[in-house]
């Protein structure tokens, strides 16, 4: 059986991910053997897995994918891979704190994180965990934290920008594949951010130090920091991260459910219809597009189905994540996505970070009260919407919202109505080119109709 190497796994010579027969495996190269063995023998691996901080793996009796392997591991597979530019503020901060917690625990076991990439943290439901088992190396006395700069670029700088400037600056992580350069953070952050010792030292002074030392010929190995000092540094970074907050502003979508034309009866009926369709589909994965606070996503996640709840509004994504975290929902992942400009494929060879569509398809897609925002709010023709949604999922539960609906009228209030094809007949024709009709039912006390379509 042939092995195919994972396109994003090539930077670290310690090993790489590959697939064989549809199974995701990780090869550990002989050069990393001492570090891997220490990870296991020191008890660090067990301690991390026990806390749910590291993805567990099985050691396999499999042939190597290339040359000779020290070990071949089968890591537990995650239902969905997300990226930092899709996280809410608290998600991002939790990922940063976990990285520091792991580094502190690693030092106690005589090991250290050799990288601190935000892409190494994933969310299982609302719980962050490290997915790169090869991120550890044996701690060598006196050695500074080699991943310090990466931590500041991947975590501290974006969090500071989101906190002090604008939550939308998390999108800088899309263009800056190795985190936000500290000199850029220095330019973008307001002066008052310097009043925080953690930001002053780890971002501003750090940025200046980088430019001053850029042409230094001094051997990096000559810099020495004790383990005690290293712990102090981690503690300082933790305080810097913990002190960053985000005051949620009022948003267009934050009070959406208090400002709709649904009666209580129609909202209940809609939930009942969605539940019934989910019971018939029996999906193993659901993507809820335009999920708002995740009200309907929870109809799926409460059935034990892994559900990703996407929304464009950082406020509702934050609320959804905080609610999922508080209830320890293992099946609900809230993410920020603009469907009119979804996450593209990025990085080397366009394959280091997958596009949203490449991470699918889901078994079922929910598109509730969404079609009018795409068709009228974003001028996307119904046929293009249908084709895109057909790429994302095998089953589609979609709510038709007619032009006479007050929400659509609101969208048309300040613009000319150029949407001559936006009617239910046009909707059925456009989606009929990509889907088979399974079932449709009007939502009580409304003009809306719920459709279950299948590819």
């Amino acid at each position: 059986m042939s092995a195919s190497r994972h396109p994003s796994s090539f930077r670290d010579p310690s090993g790489f991910l590959f697939q064989r027969g549809g199974v995701l495996l990780r090869q550990i190269n002989p050069s990393y053997s001492a570090h891997y063995d220490r990870l296991i023998e020191s008890g660090l691996y067990e301690a991390l897995v026990k806390r749910g901080w590291l993805v567990p793996h099985e050691e396999m009796d499999e042939p190597a994918a290339a040359n000779v392997a020290h070990r071949v591991l089968k890591p537990e597979r995650l239902p969905f891979v997300s990226y930092p530019y899709e996280w809410s503020f608290s998600q991002y901060r939790d990922a940063a704190k976990l990285t520091l917690d792991i580094q502190e625990l690693a030092l106690k076991h005589g090991m250290t994180l050799k990288d601190a990439s935000a892409y190494n943290i994933q969310f299982l439901g609302s719980r962050p965990l490290l997915i790169d088992t090869l991120s550890f190396e044996i701690y060598r006395v006196g050695r500074p934290w080699v991943a310090y700069r990466q931590f500041c670029q991947h975590f501290l700088a974006p969090l500071a920008l989101m906190s002090y400037r604008d939550i939308r600056l998390s999108q800088l992580m899309r263009s800056q594949i190795d985190g936000i350069p500290l000199d850029l953070a220095d330019i973008l952050l307001p002066r008052r951010a310097r009043l925080r010792f953690g930001l002053l030292s780890h971002l501003f002074i750090h940025a200046k130090g980088q430019s001053k030392m850029a042409h230094s010929k001094r051997d990096a190995a000559s810099y020495k920091v004790s383990a005690l000092a290293l712990n102090g540094l981690i503690s300082s970074l933790r305080n810097a991260v913990s002190n960053l907050g985000w005051k949620m502003p009022d948003s267009e979508w934050g009070s959406y459910y208090e400002d709709t034309n649904y009666t209580a009866a129609s909202a209940d009926h809609k939930a009942k219809l969605v539940s019934g369709m989910l019971d018939e589909i029996e999906p193993s994965s659901v993507w809820d597009l335009g999920a708002n606070d995740g009200r309907y996503s929870r109809l799926a996640s409460s059935r034990g189905v892994h559900t990703v709840a996407f929304d464009i509004d950082p406020v509702v994504v934050e609320k959804n994540y905080l609610q999922a975290r508080a209830s320890k929902d293992p099946n609900l992942l809230a993410l920020r996505i603009d469907l009119a400009n979804p996450s593209p494929a990025l990085g080397w060879d366009h394959r280091e970070r997958s596009s949203l569509a490449d991470r699918g398809p889901a078994d079922a897609v929910l598109a509730l009260a969404l079609v009018h925002h795409l068709a009228i709010g974003n001028n996307v023709p119904l046929g293009r919407i249908a084709a895109f949604l057909a790429r994302l999922g095998s089953n589609l539960v979609i709510e038709w919202v007619p032009k006479s609906d007050s929400q659509v009228q609101r969208l048309l209030a300040s613009r000319e109505d150029v949407f001559t094809e936006y009617d239910e007949g046009g909707f059925v024709r456009a989606f009929g080119e990509n889907f088979r009709m399974k079932h449709s039912e009007p939502i009580a006390e409304s003009e809306r109709v719920l459709y279950w379509l299948q590819r």
């Binding site: 310690s14 570090h35 006196g142 810099y223 020495k224 005690l228 503690s235 305080n239 002190n243």
Partner: protein
């Protein structure tokens, strides 16, 4: 007071930063000379912060007339 800050207070900065390195690390990312330099410098600053903070609190308490508690003195100082 955290164990780290206790230990940091008990040792002079020179001890914190001058334990010899034994060999090169195995990391694949570039840590950057500037980042290493900043890290080393910060260790000294953090030590100074930890050492000064209880005296600063006591001075502040004296000036404001409020009592300085041992708990307040023990808080970490790095943010």
């Amino acid at each position: 007071m955290t164990r780290n800050s206790l230990a940091a207070r008990a040792l002079p900065p020179a001890v914190l930063v001058q334990i010899p390195a034994t060999s090169k690390a195995n990391a694949h990312i570039d840590p950057g000379s500037g980042s290493f330099f900043v890290q080393m410098s910060l260790v000294g600053l953090l030590y100074a912060g930890v050492a000064i903070k209880p005296y600063w609190r006591r001075t502040k308490a004296f000036l404001t007339g409020r009592r300085s508690t041992p708990e307040a003195d023990d808080e970490s100082s790095d943010s």
